[in-house]
């Protein structure tokens, strides 16, 4: 349903112009052209918003050495391929494609432009000139769970979730484990809204969870509706993607924020130096890709300290949020005591851990 955004119209016009004016050869002193493809409008908060903030951060850090451009609201599929190709054609030498559904288009275009570098977020296919990057969002979720476990009075946390894919399930499970590490009686109630973005529906789901006793909410959807509803209904919430304290000055306890800036700066610098290599990065708190937003003053000091300590332990590798014993919510043991889950098992996670109510909708 999305149409061309003003910026993509402008981009198309520029791309046509670029075709008319011959692109000058890449000289050492010309700035590196870096392109970004976004799945939604930049907006003020959310997934794309964080990527764009990172783009600006990188541009600032490498001022004079880069020129960046982004194309927003690009649907996954055929449109994405066209946009990525246009960027490559008009001389963008490093292109970040920031949504899972851009995986095949990125790989396809990359084969046609072997001299152009590509980086695809959250995918799993690489090539000679395609790297991938992703963040361990679950690490932040675990910390969020600790805060929720300490702050809930009803011992019920509400989770508004989009689609039952491993990425989202991993977050629910990490949150629940964090919460129960400090409050073994607390449970997580999940409502699946089956959309990434529908403020009305996200709010209805939040209302539902509140009506069933949840007094701390969090979400894995892309609008600020859950935070705003928490603020209006006077319950707590923990934001995801971005700091949303503006929308919930009293409600927001903290936020699990995505920080891509340092990574973008590093990769672009490598490309400038001629040292870029296709990597496969799954970074977390250690790499600075996940950061907790400042705590709401209602969060007691000892809870803040506990979260900070746990974050440091996760960063140093001393602690992993999925360390056994780990049981699913049917009581089956998934991981023996002392064992740490493998990345492969994380990326295929298709069960709820103990403490999540209900049954996970089948994904296959």
């Amino acid at each position: 349903m999305s149409v061309l955004s003003p910026k993509s119209v402008l981009f198309t016009m520029l791309a046509v112009l670029a075709g008319l004016v011959s692109v000058s050869a890449i000289a050492a002193d010309t700035p590196l052209k870096v392109g970004f493809v976004y799945v939604s409008p930049v907006g003020d908060a959310g997934w794309t918003s964080q990527h764009d903030a990172a783009r600006r951060e990188m541009e600032k850090a490498l001022a004079g050495k880069v020129v960046t451009k982004y194309v927003e609201n690009v649907p996954e599929g055929a449109d994405a391929e066209r946009v990525i190709r246009e960027l490559a054609q008009s001389g963008y030498q490093l292109i970040f494609t920031t949504s899972f559904g851009y995986m095949n288009p990125t790989i396809k275009v990359a084969k046609q432009f072997p001299k152009t570098y590509f980086e695809h977020a959250t995918g799993y296919k690489t090539d000679k000139n395609v790297g991938i990057y992703n963040a361990r969002f679950y690490e932040g979720r675990y910390l969020a769970g600790i805060v929720a476990g300490k702050m809930t009075k009803s011992n019920i946390a509400g989770y508004v979730a989009a689609f039952p894919i491993p990425e989202v399930v991993m977050g629910i499970n990490a949150f629940t484990r964090g919460m129960r590490s400090v409050n073994p009686n607390a449970v997580t109630k999940v409502v699946w809204v089956n959309t990434w973005y529908d403020p009305g529906r996200e709010r209805e789901a939040a209302d539902t969870l509140i009506s069933q006793g949840a007094d701390v909410l969090t979400n894995h959807t892309d609008s600020t509706a859950v935070m705003q509803d928490a603020e209006a209904k006077k319950v707590y919430a923990i934001a995801y993607h971005s700091d949303m304290s503006k929308y919930g000055p009293h409600a927001q306890l903290t936020a699990v924020t995505h920080q891509w800036g340092a990574y973008y700066t590093k990769e672009v610098q490598a490309a400038i130096d001629g040292k870029w290599k296709p990597g496969s990065i799954w970074g977390g708190i250690r790499e600075g890709m996940i950061r907790m937003a400042p705590f709401n003053p209602v969060v007691p000091k000892d809870v803040q300290d506990l979260v900070n300590r746990t974050a440091a332990d996760i960063a140093s590798g001393k602690f992993h949020p999925f360390t056994g014993p780990l049981s699913d919510n049917d009581g089956h043991e998934r991981l023996a005591a002392g064992k740490v889950i493998s990345d492969d098992a994380l990326l295929k996670m298709d069960y709820y851990v103990e403490g999540v109510q209900g049954k996970l909708p089948a994904t296959k």
Binding site: M1, S5, P6, G43, N194, P199, E204, S211, G358, P361
Partner: protein, 307 residues
């Protein structure tokens, strides 16, 4: 249990009201024989106009007025295209939706992320505090009462006034209505504008009260659901109302079921509101003769006085 039921009832009214506004407006438009598929676009333009005005002036109700007017203004473009220039209604309506989606995204750009004071549910001292009844009847968003008033008005106008009879006659046979001296084009202009105003008001309700914010495409397809509701409700206002609330109720019940941990796949539950609404409305409207009697016979066809 009673507590749950009351909450569910209130949430249902709130969820259904978006659809009530948009669908009632479209019903009047269609009763005059005009099919305007631009509801989604008009809702979004209404939402963005309402939000911008509320944001700039600090008066949310002024925003609601602006949203209504913006929806009406957008529908006038459609009216000129299809009624004066005799463009194809389906094509023009689809174009209007796309245009409205783009226009709202563009004009709203600098207001994304702003926070306004939403229009809060009523809190009538005394009345709202009555046990059970207070929360059942007296504690909803003012928009909910407005939508019920709109329903009463539409019902009364269409089936209780001479002007409503003329409008329906034009929807049945514009040629005959024209022959006996009724101003077909003028009435259709009025009906289209009314539909646009209602859609705009529905959008305003979303942006000012239901999910108080502005983001691109925030109505998320409710305009299309409203269009479908009108057809499945067989062009009867009370069925539109029932359909809208049913849709809201089933959505919320499936959320409640999920939160309680009922073991049904969420994908199935997500489909339920659509399926249940279609099935129920199809069942109550299954009489083929009644359908033919209620469907405006000239729906979607252009009219020109020389025909």
């Amino acid at each position: 249990m009673i507590e749950h039921a009351i909450t569910l009832f209130a949430l249902t009214l709130a969820a259904g009201t978006v659809l009530v506004f948009a669908a009632l407006g479209e019903l009047v438009t269609e009763k005059a024989g005009v099919l305007n598929l631009g509801v989604e676009g008009m809702m979004l333009v209404g939402a963005v106009a309402a939000f911008i005005v509320a944001d700039q002036t600090g008066h949310a109700w002024l925003g609601a007025l602006a949203g209504t007017l913006a929806g009406a203004a957008l529908s006038l473009i459609f009216a000129v295209l299809t009624l004066s220039l005799l463009a194809n209604q389906v094509a023009a309506g689809l174009a209007l939706s796309l245009f409205g989606i783009g226009l709202s995204a563009f004009t709203g750009l600098s207001h994304v992320g702003h926070v306004i004071d939403p229009i809060a549910p009523l809190a009538l001292p005394g009345l709202s505090d009555l046990p059970v009844i207070g929360r059942l009847l007296f504690a909803h968003s003012p928009f909910v009462y407005l939508s019920l008033l709109l329903f009463a008005l539409v019902q009364w106008f269409l089936f209780g006034t001479r002007a409503g009879l003329v409008l329906r006659a034009i929807g049945e046979s514009p040629q005959s209505a024209h022959a006996i001296g009724h101003k077909v084009i003028a009435v259709r202009y009025g009906a289209v504008t009314f539909g646009g105003a209602c859609a705009g008001l529905g959008g305003a309700y979303m942006a000012l009260a239901y999910a108080p914010m502005w983001t691109e495409g925030m109505t998320a397809g409710r305009g299309w659901i409203a269009l479908a509701l009108v057809v499945f409700a067989n062009w009867k206002p009370w069925r539109v109302l029932a359909g809208a609330y049913l849709f809201g109720a089933v959505t919320l019940v499936q959320f409640q079921a999920q939160a309680m941990g009922v073991d049904v796949p969420s994908q199935f539950l997500a489909m339920l509101p659509y399926a249940a609404t279609i099935i129920v409305l199809a069942l109550i409207s299954r009489d083929a003769v009644a359908i033919r009697r209620n469907a405006p016979a000239s729906l979607g066809r252009a009219f020109h006085a020389d025909d």
